[in-house]
Subunit: 319 residues, 4 copies
């Protein structure tokens, strides 16, 4: 027992994600009118958006781009010291890019790329959201009014990257950010096909699944949280009556047990709304490994999965 | 068994209600922005509104008035012949007013007042709703797109009148419209304190409860249907963040078992959103009678009821 | 308008169904432990079962048999006179069998077969359920305690037959029972592939869909009602942890908009639990017709359907 | 920013609670048949019980006693080192009792009392649950089958103590266990009336509210988690049909925003089932303070609270 390896938790949570879209107006309309997010600011080719429950000023930077996909992922550390520690560790790894002065809503950040090429940054200083008069909530333990418009997502939940090689990419985040793996898929060949990473009690925030096109740096999907499964079912109704293509769900994942609904936003990126799953309270939780056969069993309720779920990502590549 | 009394059902359903408001703009904003209804037309001092599931063109006529309360209630018959039969029956009763040429969205109607003074009309000819392009639904078995805006009520559900004398008023509808009583409250004194009337499988559409101020012709509340209890819970969140006063609920009624939420719309009328309850399939269902003691037990889950629920109605009177 | 055809409603509702099973013990355990139904009585090779909301004493007679499938369907009329009228009409049609003395829980019945060969009976006299002490409910407008055991189905909802020829079979019920068609599928060839029949405000109780094996008299599925979509999602969890095979759902049908979950009970019959959909209030509702192309679009949310859903029925036949 | 105080998190989570009951058989029947927990073991006068989601072998020890109330609370540390650190800190405080050899299902523990007299212990070594054959789940990321019996609670959620003095008692846990306060009530007099303590991302696990009888060491309630609000509504139905007294809810707390339902178990202890609320992702979250006036506003939806909620606790005392 005395050999238990104590570790300070340096990563607080997934902060925000920059999503790229070739159709900025249509994409912004999707996130505000259909998902019910609030526009916080506009700068250059970007719109900053938030869910009603985000304690920071925003959780998504939507940026016009020739191709859809992921711009960068910003991760908040637990302290200024943690930021310095992790920047030093990544710098040593050779994957570091360097410090930035920060961006709208947050202070200086240390920028790097994961081994698969996804742009990332770490930051600690952040601007906590102060709701303007018309969005001030009645309950003071909620950052913003619940507007009742569209799906009404609470906050950014997780990001699922595609990676050419899952294992070394996941290992990089474990080694240099101190993240842990809650669940993973290991094929009969020994290759890792999926890795779900977490740092606190939320059971995953960053996910890598294998890119069947052998590409690098792509996005599988970005996910937003709602509180109830009924909101997911309601979202499906909202989607069909607004010509939003539903790729999968509502259904329940076997891995992580999340209740999900996948669609494509107008820019082409796959967007999930999700709820449920579980939290990890054990400080010594073991990684759960799904074999190829177990994975082949499908979703929790055996819901058939459309083939594009295993092939489509952004940017789109010729396979 | 051979004495079973066969009866043709002449009343199809509650069609629409005219609600009076001294604050027409604020009330209209409540019904469209908060409840998520659609404005169909405006005529004179009236706005016509609908829920996404109404097969007729509207279910509420909102009319400016010095005082809040109920204008008239329109009830659709099962056939033109039924309309003639019922008009003749009411005419004989002495409570009839006479035929009108109809109103926006429906044909000729026979007007009358119930013994407590509430204005009513019967009609058969009606305009079925044809959604304009932007409200056209994907599913052809639904009259209109689900917009995802605010509470999102499906349709008018029922109306609850206050009456000085419940029993004779309810009896009038039984005798002259052929309605049946699914549940009722009978006090120890023998006085009827509540009567829930129905004509088809829906277990109530018109309700009389006793007016504690001894007034006549008043409204207790108007109720709109949603499909799920989760939508009722969500409505409560929408209400508090939009300064809509919640008078009671979300909770479950003992009588009829409906899951409910009561608020006051800006004009002062009590509005319910409801779901659940049960349908009556037995053609020979017996009236369920609640005694004074049973009624005093409270709502299904013993939820305390605020005293105004038993005293407040519109128009407001000095008690 | 004066040509509107008034019609007395003679059919009250689907009463009960006799389900055949080659595994009587396992099937009974499924209906009581997993679906949460109550056993009311046993007679010969049959067990009589009920949901907590059935006003009659039972809604399913489970009978041991060499093959799974449907025994007979019992339909309650709105009056003794209606029973006589409909018996006479069917007798004239040549599909009649004759009167029976009744069975456990109901009085005399008129027996017949639909043109596809499914055994049916009409009855009016019935035994209303009186809960024994341990099942007595707190709310007097509910026939039985809600036990909280398993899925907890409220009552029988509908039966979906397979038929070699959908149109004439459906037409028979329209002509001789006075039932109406709420929705139907008509293929490009003009052949009817599905017909949803109703008699009151509930939008369907008897359904015919085309038998792809060209067989006659088979069952597609039997459906039980729950009150909420959450209960359907919970049922899926209960199913997987009890090795009950899920064939489809939870998802939302396009036709009728019902939220559904299909499984196979241990005897091999397909069983649905369902909720939602809509009620028909218009006395002059028109039949909604889905074309082949519209049908091919799939379920409401585009959920893929497993192929067995279109081929499997009971008894199983070699195709 | 450099002054940010980094702190190692030593407390992992609330482990289990010993509940005292003068009616051991009736209480055990409540927790197993109504709440749907599993009995894991019996020892002496105690029964050990678990929810389907507990990763440890149990979350409640139910012990026969002359009076209802709380036996002890067991809290798991994040590591063996953390256990030693916290034991040393408490030992120095003068509130320590000393080490025990452990109990069923966990290793050695350090025992102490909070300043209000509630017995507590810290432990690290624990027995992770291995489901027996009949309770083995299909999904390997779940410790146990979901049985579908009764309410079906997932796990212990939190404990709410009554304390004569809230502030110093809460301060003790902050200073010696490193816990943080997410929300609190501070009266106009400056007295603290409630303090919600947390250690990870779950926003509260240990709560102190003021004891209006000026007693010490009492219990306000013990709470169990379910996943959805629909399960809470369903629980209310199960309670009424099983003669379980509902004291409050289903409704939504303003503080913590939890959706709740309170009852009294047969032994007299107040038991909550809860869901919802929010998680704290900010490492620098500030305590939210509710004033006397804000608190007086009531629950989130203004649901009236029965007076016993503010006075009743276990053991019962003469006020």
């Amino acid at each position: 027992m005395n050999t238990f390896n104590e570790q300070v938790r340096d990563i607080a949570h997934l902060g925000h994600v920059e999503l790229l879209t070739p159709k900025p107006n249509e994409s912004a309309a999707f996130f505000t009118n259909i998902l019910g997010m609030q526009e916080v600011a506009r700068e250059g080719q970007s719109v900053f958006l938030r869910g009603f429950g985000n304690y920071e000023s925003y959780c998504m930077k939507l940026t016009e781009s020739k191709e859809p996909g992921i711009g960068h992922t910003a991760i908040r550390t637990t302290s200024p010291q943690a930021l310095e520690r992790r920047a030093a560790a990544i710098d040593k790894s050779g994957y570091g890019i360097g410090w930035s002065e920060g961006d709208f809503g947050h202070g200086k950040s240390y920028q790097f790329r994961d081994p698969d090429g996804h742009a990332m940054e770490l930051y600690f200083e952040t601007e906590k959201y102060k709701a303007p008069e018309h969005l001030r909530p009645i309950l003071k333990n909620q950052p913003q009014k619940y507007t009742g418009n569209g799906v009404g997502v609470r906050q950014l939940d997780h990001i699922n990257y595609l990676a050419q090689k899952v294992e070394p990419t996941s290992k990089f985040l474990q080694d240099h950010l101190g993240m842990k793996v809650s669940e993973q898929i290991v094929l009969d060949s020994g290759e890792h096909a999926g890795s779900w990473l977490y740092s606190g009690q939320k059971s995953y925030e960053l996910v890598y699944t294998v890119d069947s096109t052998n590409s690098r740096g792509r996005l599988h999907h970005l996910a937003f949280l709602v509180d109830t499964r009924e909101e997911i079912l309601r979202a499906a109704d909202i989607y069909i009556d607004n010509d939003i293509y539903i790729e999968g769900g509502p259904a329940k994942h076997a891995i992580q047990q999340t209740f999900f609904l996948y669609c494509y936003e107008p820019g082409g990126n796959r967007i999930e709304v999700c709820t449920g799953g579980y939290f990890i309270y054990a400080p010594d939780a073991e990684t759960i490994t799904w074999s190829q056969a177990e994975r082949a069993r499908g979703q929790a309720w055996l819901t058939p999965t459309i083939s594009t779920f295993h092939t489509y990502g952004t940017p789109v590549v010729d396979k």
